[in-house]
């Protein structure tokens, strides 16, 4: 038997014990409340200074414009690293660090770009043509560059003088200016590049209204107002990007004031709808360059980097079945039920905001015709298919609606939720039949089309498209005439719909919501948020 542990214990009664447990439970909740500062949200109410906290839906990878591949990375760069060009609210390419659109000569093989003068990087060093050349050379040659493929048409970059740079192309490439409006056009401080080398992401320095301060963890990036910015020091002292990957938590945080603004992708559509009715918040829904659709594995049977091979599914060998499947889908219903109507139904990849957009008449839903096409194919029903969807309740819900609608024409579609990165890998290697996937979109239609239909491109999940698709796309790349390009893209889109490798469902939209006391936020159609003129209070 053990020795006595203690003496003179108080008499234990049920009342004492219940009271003790209740006190512990209540105290643990109240302790924090009593200990907290006056309010959970420490943002000051003054118009100048203060911190703006922005929730983003997932973490950016390395903060290096040369290697970054994330959408949220672009949001951060939009405030820290400006480029030669940018996108205006009207979805037009506009000069930023350049003074004007490039002068294109020599049959489209020479781009001459004039640069702003008197501009400094956020480390105080001078922005000039040599810095532009250094950045572009890095983008084209770094072994881990994600920009190299975007700049594939550029042969070399030369410095004409301190404020003029020239890009020499190997072949005409009209989307190049739009490419330079994305991360490829971001100019990095040569001093920082020389100091950090491939670790530029540890302390990135560019030209921007905000300068990088710290990245204490994967889920948080802090920027501070730049005193060197040519447009004047921003009103907000500090910009904090914090990752909130659960939509319910993002909504609750916005309501509680823990965050000031929820970036695109943070909120669920139904929560966004509630915020549109809440007078304490501003809620905006903007059509983006992106789209949502269903990729069908037609000739990607062996993988994108292998020769085109028919896939193992009846839709690969029967084009009429692809058309039949498209005819079963009611885009308005899917949009209303799964997405609370926030998206814009459409049947092509080009955004309605684009100058190259022509509205296509979407065929369907037409169940009678779908049934006739299925019957004429000779394939016995039910036609069993698997629809791979990225995990997430909205994606699964959309998949279930698609499966339900397709059943009416004899398709038996099984929805297979798959982790996103795994799904992309499966699609690249051709290990799928149907894939519910979207694309965040780019301003130039070339970047929303060609890569997705050309065998050998990692984004081509569906397989090699016919020449009726690829020929007008290639022609559109080589001309800068807008009317001509518009006509060619219309021709290509009509061929895409006829071939049916991708069934386009919606033009994607971006939702953003923020407290009414936040002003001056610029939200461009590409989903990027600009806080150079923002203020809190």
């Amino acid at each position: 038997m053990s020795a006595p542990i203690a003496r003179n214990l108080p008499k234990i009664t049920s009342r004492n014990l219940i009271a003790s447990i209740a006190v512990v439970a209540a105290t643990s909740l109240l302790l924090g409340a009593c200990s907290s500062s006056t309010t959970p949200n420490s943002n000051p109410s003054s118009n100048t200074g203060g911190t703006l906290t922005v929730a983003i839906p997932n973490a950016a990878d390395a903060l290096d414009p040369t290697t970054d591949t994330t959408f949220v990375g672009r949001i951060i760069f939009a405030n820290m690293c400006l480029g030669l060009y940018g996108i205006s609210p009207q979805q037009q390419v506009a000069p930023v660090l350049a003074t004007s659109m490039p002068t294109i000569s020599d049959g489209g093989l020479l781009y001459t770009i004039r640069l702003r003068t008197g501009v400094k990087f956020n480390d105080g060093t001078a922005f000039n043509a040599q810095a532009v050349k250094t950045s572009l050379d890095r983008d084209m040659t770094l072994s881990t560059s994600a920009r190299a493929v975007e700049l594939k048409a550029v042969k070399s970059v030369t410095v004409l003088n301190a404020s003029t740079v020239q890009l020499h192309l190997s072949a005409p490439y009209s989307p190049l200016t739009t490419v330079l409006a994305d991360r490829s056009g971001i100019v990095m401080s040569p001093k920082a590049l020389a100091r950090e080398g491939k670790n530029f992401s540890h302390d990135p320095v560019c030209v921007g209204p905000y300068a990088f301060q710290s990245r204490p963890s994967l889920n948080q990036v802090s920027l501070v107002a730049s005193k060197d910015f040519y447009g004047g020091k921003p009103k907000i002292s500090k910009l904090v990007f914090t990752v909130i990957d659960d939509p319910s938590t993002c909504y609750a945080d916005l309501l509680s004031g823990s965050i000031n603004l929820a970036a695109p992708g943070c909120l669920a559509p139904n929560d966004y709808k509630l915020l549109t009715k809440n007078s304490a918040f501003v809620a905006q829904n903007v059509v983006s360059p992106g789209y949502a659709g269903i990729d069908i594995n037609v000739s990607n049977g062996a993988g994108y980097n292998k020769p085109a091979t028919p896939a193992n599914n009846p839709l690969a060998t029967h084009p009429t079945l692809r058309e039949a499947l498209a005819l079963t889908l009611n885009r308005s219903t899917i949009n209303r039920v799964a997405f609370d109507g926030v998206n814009q139904p459409g049947c092509g990849p080009i955004s309605p905001l684009s100058p190259f957009y022509t509205q296509l008449a979407c065929a369907g839903p037409d169940i009678a015709k779908a049934k006739r096409l299925v019957a004429s194919s000779g394939v016995p029903t039910p036609i069993n298919l698997t629809l791979m969807v990225p995990t997430g309740s909205l994606n699964v819900e959309q998949g279930e609606i698609i499966s339900s609608e397709a059943k009416s024409a004899g398709f038996n579609i099984k929805v297979q939720p798959t982790e996103f990165t795994t799904a992309l890998t499966n699609a690249s290697v051709g290990n799928y039949q149907l894939f519910d996937i979207g694309w965040s979109g780019r301003v130039d239609p070339d970047q929303d089309t060609t890569a997705f239909y050309t065998q050998g491109n990692p984004l081509d999940y569906t397989g090699q498209a016919p020449s009726s698709v690829l020929t007008p796309l290639a022609q559109a790349d080589r001309t800068t005439d807008i009317a001509q390009r518009k006509a060619l893209y219309l021709q290509a889109e009509q061929a895409m719909v006829q071939w049916g490798g991708i069934i386009y469902l919606f033009h994607a939209t971006n939702q953003v919501a923020y407290q009414k006391k936040v002003t001056g936020v610029s939200f461009t159609p590409d989903g990027l948020l600009h806080f150079a003129s923002a203020a809190v209070g």
Binding site: L9, G32, S37, T39, S143, V243, D246, S256
Partner: protein, 319 residues
């Protein structure tokens, strides 16, 4: 006692070495080129693959790679994440304190609620208090932490505005703000721990109260509180200590759901991000450090056993 300690230390070190080998080989078992596995990028050029092979020593024999990796781990040089470029050591140094603090606070809440309520339920067996205690424990075990967390946020942050909904403030920079940020997530986790401990404590106490020595103590006329707390409780605590050790291990490995709901950048959140981004070096480092922490906790718990039950010491010496 010395022999017991040495034996347990040896077992712990052996377990840790085995864990390190499994963690190391795990990345190499991923289909495809190790360079693509380490970077999560399946579309690398031959030049990029060669550069990564040189950077990570992938062109060396596997035992040499393991020795190099082990040396880096032991000297704290875990390298940089190929996805984010951040130092893995720095990321762990940021994440672990959050998880450790959450673990400590959750366990405190769990023990302070679970142990007394388990004792009380055992002493009041078959009475209303026992049934209520079991029902509350069942509730604590059944309730999903993500739901409970969101409910607490809606009540205390959104409606009452008395607590922040998410994120983390370091204790050193502001103790009050730190506690206000941690109280809800700690309570969510603590109630789950309390439910487990309550059931274990009740079961252990019921068994102890039926033993001969407790009957003898009562027969000797000792007051009931003395019988319960001085004699039955101490012998019941061995199994409860086991459960506490296991629960600490679970919490230290990161409770990703709770961290996600409350915006805490702890080990769970770091692991989830690393998995989704195919950041294998970070996954490797987190797995190894977590295994080491769990092994250390279990080693420490063995001392607690020895304190609680002298039989452990005697049997250890006899062996």
């Amino acid at each position: 006692m010395r022999a017991y300690v040495v034996r347990r230390l040896g077992q712990s070190i052996f377990t840790l070495v085995v864990a390190s080998v499994l963690v190391f080989l795990g990345v190499r078992a991923v289909p495809g080129n190790p360079a693509t596995a380490l970077t999560g990028n399946a579309d690398l050029s031959p030049a990029a693959i060669a550069a990564i092979n040189r950077q990570y020593g992938l062109n060396q024999p596997v035992p040499v790679q393991y020795a190099d990796w082990l040396r880096q781990v032991l000297t704290g040089h875990l390298g940089a994440s190929p996805v984010t470029g951040l130092s893995i050591t720095a990321e762990l140094a940021n994440a672990f304190p959050i998880t450790i603090e959450l673990t400590i606070l959750s366990m405190l809440i769990g023990i302070l609620i679970g142990v007394p309520s388990g004792i009380f339920a055992a002493v009041r067996r078959g009475k209303v208090a026992d049934y209520v205690g079991n029902a509350v424990a069942l509730f604590g075990l059944s309730i999903p932490s993500f739901w409970f967390g969101i409910v607490l946020i809606l009540i205390f942050a959104v409606k009452l505005h008395v607590l922040p909904a998410s994120s983390y403030v370091s204790f050193l920079s502001s103790p009050g703000s730190n506690l206000s940020h941690m109280v809800m997530p700690a309570f969510v986790l603590g109630t789950g721990v309390a439910a487990v401990l309550m059931r274990q404590m009740r079961s252990g106490m019921l068994e102890a109260l039926r033993t001969d020595y407790v009957r003898t103590a009562r027969a000797k006329g000792l007051p009931e509180p003395s019988v319960v707390l001085k004699h039955a409780l101490r012998n019941s605590l061995v199994t409860v200590a086991t459960v506490i050790g296991l629960q600490i291990g679970v919490l230290l490995s990161g409770v990703a759901v709770t961290e996600t709901v409350f915006g805490l950048s702890g080990i769970g959140s770091l692991t989830i991000n690393a998995v989704f981004q195919r950041d294998y070096p970070t996954i490797q480092a987190v797995a190894l450090i977590t295994a080491a922490a769990v092994i250390a906790i279990n080693f420490a718990m063995d001392f607690v056993y020895a304190f609680l039950s002298p039989r452990v010491q005697v049997e250890g010496a006899a062996q």
